[in-house]
Symmetry: C2
Subunit: 266 residues, 2 copies
């Protein structure tokens, strides 16, 4: 259980103090947070809440969206927030195509340039930028980084202490090249996230992720692959699904832990 | 216009005799058909209807679905039907994971084995098996062949006269490796299909394809790439969308032609 981390998006409607208490009750010591989780009490207040409960933050979601006009300032703020709550990794979701554009290559090149501009800030703050490839169905509107290979191509332009990658089973499970890319990733793996692939996909496709074990992904094979690559860090369960959100947080947490245990025990 | 082909799925509710007449009126000489188009008058009757109108068939959809218990017999029938209507290419959509399985590698291996069993029938009938990679969002329930590279890996086990690949812009547009794979494809390209990527995706995601020019794909770049690879065959417009289906066939055909012309003229 020392590697399990509850990503707060999985229990979206569970207020942070309740989530913290629920984690303590369940013996969970790590959480992945989103920037909106810091809104009520600010980074310092959030850090105090977590510290008092003995919880550590595994990652902060999210920076990125490099198509936004204020992307540079906003990502600098995200780096500061990650540092303030002790999150070692800031997850970057790159953003899709700029409005009216069809130039995917240019959008992808811009991601590398933007990350390059943020690297000095990240190194200074002691926060690693974690490039997350999203499933190709998000390429136009959410993330032009579509494969783990692409994410590694971007990351390898920079020191491993500055830029890593996220391995989220939901986004990469279909990729015939993913096993080779995980082996290549070694010390670039910033975070390993478990979510399952279930069909049919809902309209808009964002909220179709399933709790681990409910879908069709070989989760244990992924857990073994990141282990074999040398990854010893946290394993976040991160699910977005309206039906999961409608259920009590503690119940969802228990299922997330069960799914994690099944995946990790092969 | 000698390369344009209307795939009948684009005008799903247009009865075949009306579609044939509409094509003749619009100066269209080629159509891509689906097996259900042959239901009313059989392969011979359909062939006669097309021949009398001076139309040629560019492809028949579809074989594949190798997870079905009767896949072998069903695919042999599909090959016979393609031969009977003069379709030089039979499009194969492989099928997803078998029920209850998470073993994507095994499912993919089975596709190659199944195609190998069908190759003698295809060669004897003079029909090429056209492996279509579908977008990775269909990997679990519809098609475990997710990239053009994978489709070519499968095809290259067999003679180019027996097994080719489909390049459908909707399915492959996101792939950073697709340009290299198109260049590799050369005489393996069985069919080039135009459809555009539009968001948000509808529930179930199957019926989200847009008419060429309405979305975010660099269609002209794809047209130039298949040309550069040496492809001189038909260019099918194949769109599945409830709103497109609800409109008069002739109107949709006119837009399909306009989208084709825009893509082909760069």
């Amino acid at each position: 259980m020392d590697r399990f981390s509850l990503n707060s998006a999985t229990t979206k409607h569970w207020p942070l103090p309740d989530l913290v208490a629920g984690c303590v009750r369940a013996g969970v010591t790590r959480v992945g947070l989103w920037r909106e989780d810091l809104a009520d009490r600010g980074p310092a207040g959030t850090a105090a809440l977590l510290r008092d409960a003995g919880l550590r933050v595994t990652s902060l979601c999210r920076g990125g969206f490099f198509t936004a006009p204020d992307w540079y300032d906003d990502n600098r703020r995200a780096i500061e927030e990650a540092a303030a709550i002790g999150a070692p990794e800031l997850v970057l979701v790159s953003g899709g195509l700029p409005a009216g554009s069809r130039d995917l290559d240019a959008a992808r090149d811009h991601v590398t340039e933007a990350i390059g501009r943020l690297v000095p800030d990240a190194l200074a703050a002691g926060v690693r930028l974690a490039v997350e490839p999203l499933h190709p169905m998000f390429a136009s509107d959410r993330c032009v980084v579509s494969t783990l290979g692409q994410a590694l191509d971007i990351a390898e332009n920079f020191p491993a202490a500055a830029v890593g990658v996220v391995v989220d089973t939901y986004h990469v499970w279909w990729d015939p090249d993913v096993w080779r890319q995980i082996a290549r990733a070694v010390d670039r793996i910033s975070c390993f996230q478990l979510a399952d692939w279930i069909t049919p996909l809902p309209a808009g496709v964002l909220l179709g992720r399933g709790l681990p074990g409910t879908g069709q992904v070989e989760l244990a094979r992924f857990a073994a692959a990141v282990d074999a690559a040398g990854y010893t860090g946290p394993v976040e369960v991160e699910v977005f699904h309206e039906e999961v959100w409608a259920r009590p947080g503690g119940e969802v947490l228990a299922e997330a832990i069960a799914g994690y245990r099944a995946a990790m025990s092969g």
